[in-house]
Subunit: 233 residues, 2 copies
DNA sequence: GCCCGATATCTGCCATCACAGATTCTTGAC
DNA sequence: GTCAAGAATCTGTGATGGCAGATATCGGGC
């Protein structure tokens, strides 16, 4: 089972096995977050502590803790009726999530711009190449992972981010639904809006970068609108 | 008799008190959140699962879960070195928190305005009276609780809030530090900026409400600046 | 054949215990 | 008196087991 291996790797990723083995719950949360952001969980489905525990090769306890964090981040709803479900999307929720992204992400990009050095810019370009490749190959999961990497490679340039945390929360809620949407329209309809952002970064143009990010967000919204906003899963 | 199911349903509906005992971890999180927002925890201090468990009369498990959520909300840092601490404030963190508040809260107030009905407005006025009273009496904790109630009585008018969640996260991080600041300058220097907001709500003036909220936030910032931003605890 | 009720299973929830690292306190040597 | 080594304590962490409620499955009655 590759997921267990990924979880183990994630658990040990923080420190190179010297003195600090990262806590299990941290690795579990990282793995689950990745699944949410890349859309590997479907809206409306339910998760179980025991199931995930067995799947990831740990006990219920760290799983429970990770799910607790995910609940705080809005990625899952823990209904008192003995069910943990990933929330379904509604038009209102979708619009509010999008509004929050519009508010926060351009600001985060602008503030992070001065901290983006040459190596990071190179990594951005590499990630963008991967995104285009994923679009060509119809690799939906690779596209979503790359898209996440791209945006947060920008935002995380600003150290000590609080904005980043808030934005990550939004993405955790977006992921499952976006996967459904992307799956419906296919990768052929995806356009890569990131080159404008890259050139703005290269030019040190903060306003241009903010505009590019905003355009990228709105572009995704238009995609949804064109597909089927009414068919919310 | 076809009424058995109806009877069951009626019985369930008739006694909602016994039907849903809220999970312990939820209550613990609520209590701890209240303490953070009203500044009953001091920055830099450390919490322990066992201590809180004994204090609240529950086991470690629900406390851990609540602390896990609080960590996700940035209210506590769970350092791997066997310590759970409430973060200290730094000028950068403070500015970023404030910037996030400026971005989110006016927007939240504007969007919530159409949902504020007469009863809620009356409750707002009552809370505002309590705030003034708390200021006069030097009741710092009452002031902070009232201030929180006032703002979220506005924001929470909008149902299913995602914005509200994000804002609450910011307040959870602000609370401990604000208590220190307020404690330093005393309640005498506090001014109640909420009346402008109340009248804007009464007039249905969204822009005016947004401006009032923004002014309220900036006013708090000025208070900090006037006291001692350099003496960050 | 259809529906209701009892049993079996599954679920989140919580308490308890054990473990290992970190911290604090004690103690003994110089 | 100083200070370091060891013991006692405190810490987060994780696994286990069991409880109660919810769901699913199956059996029996009409």
């Amino acid at each position: 089972m590759p997921s267990t291996r990924q979880a183990e790797r994630a658990a040990r990723a923080a420190r190179p096995a010297r003195a600090e083995p990262a806590p299990l719950h941290s690795g579990v949360h990282a793995e689950l977050s990745r699944r949410f952001i890349t859309g590997q969980v479907t809206p409306g489905s339910s998760l179980s502590t025991r199931g995930l525990a067995e799947e990831l090769g740990v006990s219920q306890t760290p799983v429970r803790e990770a799910l607790s964090r995910l609940a705080a981040e809005g990625a899952v709803q823990i209904r008192s009726k003995r069910k943990i479900i990933v929330p379904t999307m509604t038009p209102e929720r979708f619009r509010e999530l999008l509004r929050c992204r519009e508010l926060l992400e351009p600001e985060a990009a602008m503030r992070a711009l001065p901290y983006i050095d040459a190596p990071r810019l190179r990594r951005l370009k590499r990630v963008d190449d991967g995104i285009e490749s994923a679009i060509r190959n119809g690799d939906l999961q690779g596209y979503m992972q790359g898209n996440f990497d791209f945006h947060f490679l920008i935002y995380d340039a600003l150290p000590r981010g609080i904005l980043n945390r808030l934005i990550e929360i939004l993405w955790l809620q977006f992921g499952p639904y976006m996967r459904v949407v992307y799956g419906r329209v296919g990768t052929a309809n995806l356009v890569d809006q990131h080159e404008v952002a890259i050139s703005a970064i290269g030019a040190g143009d903060a306003d241009g970068l903010a505009r590019a990010i905003l355009a990228d967000i709105r572009d995704g919204m238009d995609l949804i609108g064109k597909s089927a906003l009414c068919m919310l899963a």
